[in-house]
Subunit: 492 residues, 2 copies
């Protein structure tokens, strides 16, 4: 378990309270004069620690609020520009996935030390727009990522295009054009929708390779004058550091252009990429830039998940409760999301102009599709631990805006342990509460559970974080980050 | 449709922005000096208007944020005590029910003019505690209402008791003991869990009448020295005004005590209650107090819902899309929730010490249990319109804290229109978007869908509203309201 958050989430003392209030006064006064203020010292005072304060069955024992919160929240509002932005995405992750993970990992009255400590919280809508202009109430990860990455609604399956096929610039492209350092980190294939939305513009998210593009997106191949497959676009339009899975696609061969006949791995090396394939190689990297870019691919496909457990079954919630297990397929040398996050932060933080870093725990979604509660919880744990790394960084770099959200909602629900669900269910024995939690997956009878269309939780801390509350649309994320980083609309 | 909200949700003008910023400065400066401030003029500036700003399929067209929000949010933070508190509860209502209603009522890119405009948003946990001390991850409305009403976790089915059977004082009791006016309004039977949590303390929520209490809660009957049935407790421990359904239970007869042999209606009249049974009679009431209390019961059971529609069926989402209809059983003379809210506010607002008012749209839950999406949406509309009435009141009375939440989450999910759900589904033709929304109910194969255990949305505006963000437990609501109203712990 990650522990640094303990240091930054102290129990309230009189002295600390005094410091907080002083900070509140200073920040308030600064804001009153309408001068953006730097709040490099403010982060410590704005994290919340929503742990139950006593025995949950006693009067007041379950309450989470430490004290009257107005002054503290006021002190955490900061309209200065941010130097750095870290965007954490839990794929297919909203309140239900978070509550399931909290109940299992820290107990119902506990709190997650990354996800649950951010002072500004709200939700956003995630609908996509079909090619015919109709609202689609259930987005996929491609359309949703396009929305937050470009500020423009896409249709399901499309990356970085609007419904008319027009390309829209991504946050990563904009950050690069403005001279910032950039990072793109995931537990899935680096060609998967969320990371790809930052570098690719293509009509079908599955067009990973030249061959697949010829098949599914024929007008977009290099030979047809298009931008090429997703992996080819990555090589031309990359972050300084890109980490995740998807090594297998680098064995594909370019069918046109300068690198025709070479594999994408050969092309990557020819273009100057350093390719790393395990944690040790990653740790040995000591600098990244556009001129010295790094791609880390640590699995042929998605990274293995950290936890496995029995899949849900019909009537599973009424069977004996089970415990989650570590996944034996999580092989040595595979980095955890928190390790990739820490390394990316360490490399990007030296950049004088700041950085934009996207960090995705992508298999929360994939395990939800598979109706695997333990897999889902383990990957939510990965997300939470990566956020804790981000918070520890922001403690040292108060000019960092951290945003935490999901790209869309998903199937999993907590239901009564005796419910007769028509779906796939599992009863989990919760280690902290020593009780039983029943999880239900019931949106599909086929192999893969479906996304859902409910608005998704947003949370933030740092400069401009006050914008991440109330009701937003996921396209707002693009503008909030663009404006927080004061990025000008420069085409590269 | 309710229209007054239009007046208080204006498009931003330079002049208005200047006023906002001035207010922000004043409030910030006031807060810096740690003097509670009155913000009777601040409410107008803190409502948010998260309407899409353009064509949702265009760059930036779907964004909801008007402008950089830091100064506005800061201006809306007010640590003064509140004179009045209105607590709006959507039974079984969280993000999913809200998104479903928004999509249908105003379109995916629109916003609900009550639910969606509150500047402080977060979520709370709703787990209950079984009698044996185990965490129960899925609460019922009785345990959840007991939690927010008394600050103490109850077990499912219990009202105003902890797991050991100890009585805990409710917010309504505390408000009365401190001399405030009180109101308790619902669309369900007034004996239902949410309203009953404010006046009753009993081990089983179904013990509405003396006979039912003898059957289910035998040690708690009047003849056995107990507090008596829920309806009898209402007559002894009432709000100044109590409105909803449940007339049938007043035909029950007391089996012990001073009113033995008389119906509860006779007892109510003997105790000085004015009983009203339709909207006209309600409108004729011109004053309420503890000495002149009013009970309005406008139906034998729950009030009729305003909308009906085809129930969901297996495979229903793949059938032709349907539209919601007005419910022909909503008979003339039945008040809408917004009408009951307006009347209660009008009567309570004259009280010099302020008031505590609970307003519940209770049948959002009941229609969710019935897998009736249109019924659910109509009752969410009722909730939203009642909140608009509350906001209009708070515009005139800035010392009013408004909190909006649900007591627990529920079954309904928005799924892809082509999903093959194992549950009951319906395809709704959305009137604004002219698209199709599929709603899924799949937690139970029996007659009644199940509650779910996900954390529930919270939102607030007014003094102390900044406490309603981040992660809370529902027991925090008791303490936030108690402290906002500066209520002393007086036993009546």
């Amino acid at each position: 378990m990650q522990t640094p958050a303990k240091k930054i989430l102290p129990i309230m003392t009189t002295k600390k309270l005094t410091t907080m209030i002083m900070t509140a006064m200073l920040v308030s006064l600064s804001a009153c004069s309408h001068q953006p203020v730097s709040t490099s010292a403010s982060l410590q005072s704005t994290l919340i620690t929503p742990q139950a304060k006593g025995q949950p069955d006693a009067f007041g024992g379950a309450r989470r609020l430490n004290q009257e919160h107005s002054a503290i929240l006021k002190a955490s509002i900061d309209d200065a520009h941010a130097k750095n932005v870290i965007l954490f995405i839990g794929d297919g992750t909203s309140d239900s996935e978070i509550t399931i993970a909290r109940n299992y990992l820290v107990g119902a009255s506990g709190y997650l030390k990354g996800i649950d400590v951010l002072p500004f919280t709200g939700s956003y809508t995630t609908y996509s727009i079909d090619r015919d202009g109709k609202v689609n109430y259930v987005t996929d990860s491609a359309a949703s990522a396009s929305a937050w990455a470009t500020g423009t609604k896409a249709y399901n399956g499309a990356l970085g295009l609007d419904r008319h096929g027009k390309v829209h610039q991504s946050l990563l492209e904009l950050a690069k054009a403005n001279g910032l350092a950039t990072g793109n980190v995931t537990t899935t294939e680096i060609q998967d929708a969320t990371p790809a939305s930052l570098y690719a513009h293509i009509s079908a998210r599955k067009c990973y390779t030249p061959a697949k593009t010829a098949e599914l997106c024929p007008t977009e191949t290099v030979q047809n004058g298009g931008l090429g497959s997703i992996t080819e676009q990555l090589l031309k339009n990359h972050a300084d550091i890109t980490l995740g899975g998807g090594a297998q696609y680098f064995a594909a061969t370019a069918t046109a252009g300068q690198y025709q006949g070479q594999t994408l791995l050969q092309q990557a090396k020819a273009r100057g990429f350093r390719m790393v394939n395990n944690l040790n190689q990653l740790q040995a990297i000591d600098a990244v830039s556009q001129q010295q870019p790094v791609i880390g691919v640590f699995a042929q496909g998605n990274l293995p998940v950290i936890w496995s457990g029995p899949k849900s079954t019909l009537g599973g919630n009424q069977k004996p409760a089970v415990s989650c297990q570590e996944n034996p397929e999580f092989v040595a040398g595979t980095p955890l999301l928190k390790e990739m996050t820490a390394k990316a932060l360490s490399l990007l933080s030296s950049h004088p102009k700041g950085f934009f870093l996207q960090v995705e725990s992508g298999s929360i979604d994939k395990q939800n599709h598979k109706a695997n509660a333990c897999g889902q919880i383990g990957e939510t744990k990965q997300l939470d631990e990566a956020i804790q790394v981000g918070l520890e960084f922001a403690k040292q770099h108060g000019d960092t805006l951290i945003i935490v959200t999901g790209d869309h909602a998903h199937t999993s629900q907590i239901i009564p342990i005796k419910a007769n669900s028509p779906g796939l269910t599992v009863a989990l024995k919760t280690p902290i509460d020593q009780s039983v939690m029943a999880v239900n997956y019931a949106t599909e009878t086929g192999d893969s559970q479906a996304h859902t269309g409910v608005q998704v939780r947003t949370a933030a801390i740092g400069p401009r974080a006050a914008n991440i509350n109330g009701l937003l649309d996921q396209t707002d994320i693009f503008f909030i980050i663009r404006d927080a980083l004061n990025l000008e609309s420069i085409q590269k």
